[in-house]
C-alpha cells in the first residue's frame, strides 16, 4: 500500500510539471522574441535610415541582413515551434520541383505553441509585410527609386514566409473543414503560383 501511495505522488509531480508547462502563457519565449525581433528592427532601421548612416549601401546591407536572418528563423525555427507548421521545397529524382506544406496535428504533440504564441506568430507574420507595402507606396510616390529596390527586396522576403505559412494552415484545416473555401480552393489548384516556380 505504501508503494501505491508513492506511485501516486510521483504521478502528481509529473502531472504538475506537465500542467504547468501546458498552462504557461508562452512556452517558447526565445522563439517568440526572435520571431518579432528581426522584423521590427528592420522596419525601425528603414524608418531611421537617415540617422543610422548617410551611406545608402550600408543601410541596404543592414536591412537585407536583418530580413535574411528573419526569413531563415521564421521558416526554419519559429514556425515549427510556435504553430507547428513547416514548408519547404524538394527536388525529386526526375528533377521536378515539389513544394511541401506540413501542419502538425495538435493532439500528437503538446509542445506546440499556446494561443498567445500563435497570435504573436500570425500578427507578426501579417502586419510586417503590410507595413513594407506601405513603404513601397511612400517611396514610389516620393520618387526615391533606390529605396524602392530595397523595399521590393524586403517585401519579397516577407511575403514568401507569409504565403508559405498560409498554405500550411490551409493544409492543416483541411482535415476539419473539408469543404471550406480556403482549403479546397488552394488544394484543388495546389501550385497556383508554385506551378510556375
Amino acid at each position: 500500500m505504501a508503494d501505491d501511495t508513492e506511485d501516486v505522488e510521483l504521478d502528481f509531480a509529473a502531472d504538475e510539471q506537465e500542467r504547468a508547462r501546458r498552462s504557461a502563457v508562452i512556452r517558447h519565449p526565445l522563439a517568440s522574441f526572435f520571431h518579432l525581433f528581426f522584423r521590427v528592427v528592420a522596419i525601425v532601421a528603414y524608418l531611421l535610415s537617415d540617422w543610422i548612416s548617410e551611406n545608402f549601401a550600408s543601410c541596404f546591407v543592414l536591412i537585407i541582413t536583418l530580413l535574411s536572418f528573419d526569413f531563415w528563423s521564421v521558416k526554419n525555427v519559429t514556425g515549427r515551434l510556435l504553430v507547428g507548421l513547416r514548408w519547404w521545397n524538394q527536388i525529386d529524382d526526375d528533377g521536378k520541383s515539389l513544394w511541401v506544406f506540413e501542419a502538425k496535428k495538435a493532439s500528437h504533440d503538446n509542445n506546440i505553441g499556446t494561443e498567445a504564441e500563435a497570435r504573436i506568430f500570425w500578427l507578426g507574420l501579417i502586419i510586417c509585410p503590410l507595413i513594407w507595402i506601405c513603404f513601397f507606396f511612400t517611396s514610389l510616390f516620393s520618387l526615391k527609386i533606390k529605396w524602392l529596390s530595397l523595399v521590393v527586396a524586403s517585401i519579397s522576403l516577407q511575403v514568401a514566409n507569409l504565403y508559405g505559412y498560409l498554405r500550411c494552415k490551409a493544409v492543416g484545416e483541411d482535415g476539419q473543414h473539408a469543404d471550406s473555401f480556403t482549403g479546397q480552393h488552394l488544394l484543388q489548384r495546389p501550385d497556383i503560383i508554385f506551378g510556375i516556380l
Binding site: A57, I64, W72, V77, L81, G95, D109
Partner: protein, 232 residues
Amino acid sequence: MADEANRQFAGLSDVSISEDIPVEGDISVPMGSSSSNRQRGGEDEFSTLDEPVKETILRDLRAVGSKFIHVLYPKRSSVLLRDWDLWGPLLLCVTLALLLQGGAADSEDQGGPQFAEVFVIVWFGSIIITLNSKLLGGTISFFQSLCVLGYCIMPLTAAMAVCRIVLVGGSGTVSFTVRLVVVTASFGWSTFASTAFLADNQPAGRKSLVVYPVFLFYFVIGWMVLTFSPSQ
C-alpha cells in the same frame, strides 16, 4: 511442357499483391528541415532551443559552401540543382555591389553602378533569363535556375576583387590589360559554368536560344567590373 512452365512459376502462385502497397523511402532534404523526420520525431522534440538551431545553421552553411566549390569545378553535378538555395547568390550580389562602391560612381552626378543598380541588374536579369528558359520549354524550375545563375557570378566577383587590388597599383595601360584579361577569363568561366547546368535541360536546337541571354547577362556584369574606376 506445360508442367515445366508450371514448375518454373510455381512459387509465384502464392504471391498476392495487396491493394495498398506501403511506399517507403527517404527523401533527404538538407534545406534546414528533413521530410523523414516525421517518423523519427527528431527535430520536433528537443530540449534546448540552441542545439538543433546550431545544427541547422551549420548544415545550411555547409550546403552553401559546397555549392561554391562546385562552381569552381563546373562539371555536371546535382548539387547546385537538387539542393538549391538562394543564400549564396544573395551573398555574392551584396559582395559585388559593395566592391563596386567607392568608385567615381559614389557622387550622384557621375555615371556608374550605384549600389541598388547592381542588385536590380543581377536579380532582374536572373529572373528574365529564367523566364526565357522556361518559356522555351526548359525543365529546370524557377528557383533552381536562379540558384545556378547566382552562384555562377562567383568568378566575376573574384575578378572584381582582383581588379580592385590591381587598381591600387595604378590605372595605366598595363593595369587595364591585366584587368581585361582577368575579366574576360572570369566572364568565360561564368558563362561556361552556368550553361553546363542550364543548357542540358533544353531540347536540342534550342540551346543557343537559352545561352545567349546568359552570355549577355554576364557580359553586362563583366562590363561593370571592367569599367570600374576608382575615385580620384
